[in-house]
Symmetry: C2
DNA sequence: TGTCCCTAGCGAAATTCTTTCGAAAGTCAG
DNA sequence: CTGACTTTCGAAAGAATTTCGCTAGGGACA
């Protein structure tokens, strides 16, 4: 059975599915008193018939709205991404609803409500940034067909989630190679969360560089943190406790590198004479620190722009070329790296 | 004639005004084919009866939404404020629509549309942060009865606009007094835009401190910029060109101070031995710079929270105690200030 | 096992709102 | 004055929603 042309009405859908008109109305309006099975059947028919409620037709938004969820925004990394997202949003006439999740995201039930709200308010989708959203959290959005784009996921996302990032592996490799070229052999890595894909990729780029030069990887030289200044402080402290100290450190973020610098200054360790240091991100932090940080710059602004563009493309139902977009990183050499001490 | 209790329906309004139900429906939905006179009559009756369309009832927002407009967000100052706004928003279950205006705000016509949208979308109001919104821009919102709260206005706002800030005058006084206590007499001020109230207040706090100690104010030692790092660089360059150089600088923001530090390092001028430096804001920038900046800390996080709270109070129609809220600043002494060279 | 009561799920009927379409009244050129 | 057009409105039909009561399937309990 199928519809005989015409714009679909509730009554038509009702006939099609063998329920009453009121029941269809209830499904459309999200009432509770409809069995899950019946709801599913009706929703399928609605979908197939392309039904649009008159309220929906009326409300048709003049300006699209997207949601953006950050773990935290008090970092140059977050500011730069946000700046890119907002710039693109302004260019495309889209509004941005911003929220911070904190490292512990809302409980499941809350998350469900939030995802539902995104649907109710007819928002185009959500951009999730280095947030502790797990796969199951993302599923709440996925179930409701809400487009999601993740920037630098902290937890490995389901394979079908669209993500935007940088060439972290290549960046890690470039950083390590730069240090190797300067004659360093004991090179430590102070990274972000072990589960974070971006940090993982940087680590493996670093591994790759070491191995291709025949330098053995010492697991004691690899430490994980949370990309914060304090992690750099603690990281350096830990590394100095080793029998054989590293002569160079590759930090997984500029913030970590700043922490290393702070602790090094405290201990009267001269950078770069006694210790070379490479950061990651290429934010203003790298430029303003003393000494200025050699850092692997990520195109954070462009990543933000790309994320928004991708999200809207997804929302429009366009087929995406790839579920993963990586923008190029670039090693910027400043003053914090020097030849290894003899 | 009046309504006999009950929730008002279109039919009731129609009887009341002596037109047909369809005509009332058309007025409610803003159709064109209704005479202006009839429309006015019906609207009046709708207003009086307190009619709400079912669509409207449905749409009645569960969560309030506020708009936040920043000049730019790529600064620690902006991040900290935003963080506070978002924290309070999360606590109160309010959503935040964020946008950046850029230093040149949208043209008048666009601004009008934007203000209208705030009304259409039934948003609670707007928080404007150090933005180049002028009085006439704010008027667009004011005309529509949209609550506005301004944080650190760049242009003097109309007197009836609610604003949140810090005790800038006291902060400027404290900074200058600290330097005077260290024996400095030639103290420069590198501030923000001349029209910015917050910068003005800091400057006058500085004047006050100097004058109460009987130190003459040298107008050549006062320079204005835009709170950016570059303004610090240029500011110091300009000051060094003077016959008699200052021995201390009071910077209107930490970013300016960082610029001063950068230029000083470039020129091999030692801070604080040869030049003392006080910043303003007390952001992470102050803590991480070398030497760590003595700075007047603003409670940016709390200012953000207060702004949102105030806005919502205004939106609820509560009477505000004051059109101006100032939170206390605090001088934090670190390493960038020392006794004046002999 | 039977009885009672409760609840979830559904639809008939009534109510409310919207749209279509044609009629009445006004306007204007010729 | 006439005919063509426009504006404004409402009758009637159509669409969507709400109310309210029915029914069936489950416990709880004697």
């Amino acid at each position: 059975m199928t519809l005989t042309g015409r714009k679909p009405t509730l009554a038509a859908i009702a006939r099609l599915t063998g329920v009453s008109t009121p029941t269809v109305s209830k499904v459309v309006n999200g009432r509770e008193d409809v069995a899950a099975e019946t709801r599913a059947k009706v929703l399928a028919a609605l979908e197939e018939a392309g039904y649009e409620s008159p309220a929906h037709r009326r409300t048709t938004r003049r300006t699209a709205v997207v949601e953006v969820a950050f773990d935290a925004i008090n970092s140059n990394y977050a500011s730069a991404l946000l700046d890119g997202i907002l710039a693109q949003a302004a260019a495309m006439g889209v509004e941005v609803v911003l929220s911070v999740t904190g490292s512990v995201p809302a409980a499941g039930i809350d998350l469900e409500r939030r995802a539902q709200r995104t649907v109710d308010e007819e928002r185009s989708g959500i951009i999730v940034v280095t947030s502790a959203f797990t796969g199951s959290h993302l599923a709440a959005f996925h179930r409701r067909r809400v487009p999601v784009v993740v920037i630098d996921p902290l937890n490995p996302p389901p394979s079908d989630v669209v993500s935007v990032g940088a060439t972290n592996w290549a960046g890690g490799k470039a950083a390590a190679e730069h240090l190797l070229d300067l004659g360093h052999r004991r090179i430590a890595y102070l990274g972000g969360p072990e589960s974070a894909e971006c940090s993982q990729a940087r680590l493996h780029g670093y591994f790759s560089a070491l191995m291709s030069r025949g330098v053995e990887v010492d697991p004691r030289l690899v430490r994980h943190g949370r990309f914060r200044v304090e992690d750099g402080v603690e990281g350096l402290t830990g590394l100095l406790a080793l029998d054989e100290r590293p002569t160079a450190i590759f930090a997984g973020s500029d913030a970590i590198a700043v922490g290393v610098l702070r602790e090094a200054r405290q201990r009267r360790i001269h950078v770069p004479e006694e210790l070379s240091l490479v950061g990651f991100d290429g934010t203003a932090l790298a430029e303003d620190s003393v000494p200025a940080l050699t850092s692997v710059a990520q195109p954070l602004h462009d990543m933000g722009r790309t994320a928004l563009r991708t999200l809207l493309r997804q929302a429009r139902g366009e087929q995406l070329d790839s579920h993963r977009v990586e923008l190029a990183t670039q090693l910027v050499v400043r003053e914090s790296t020097a030849p290894a001490p003899a």
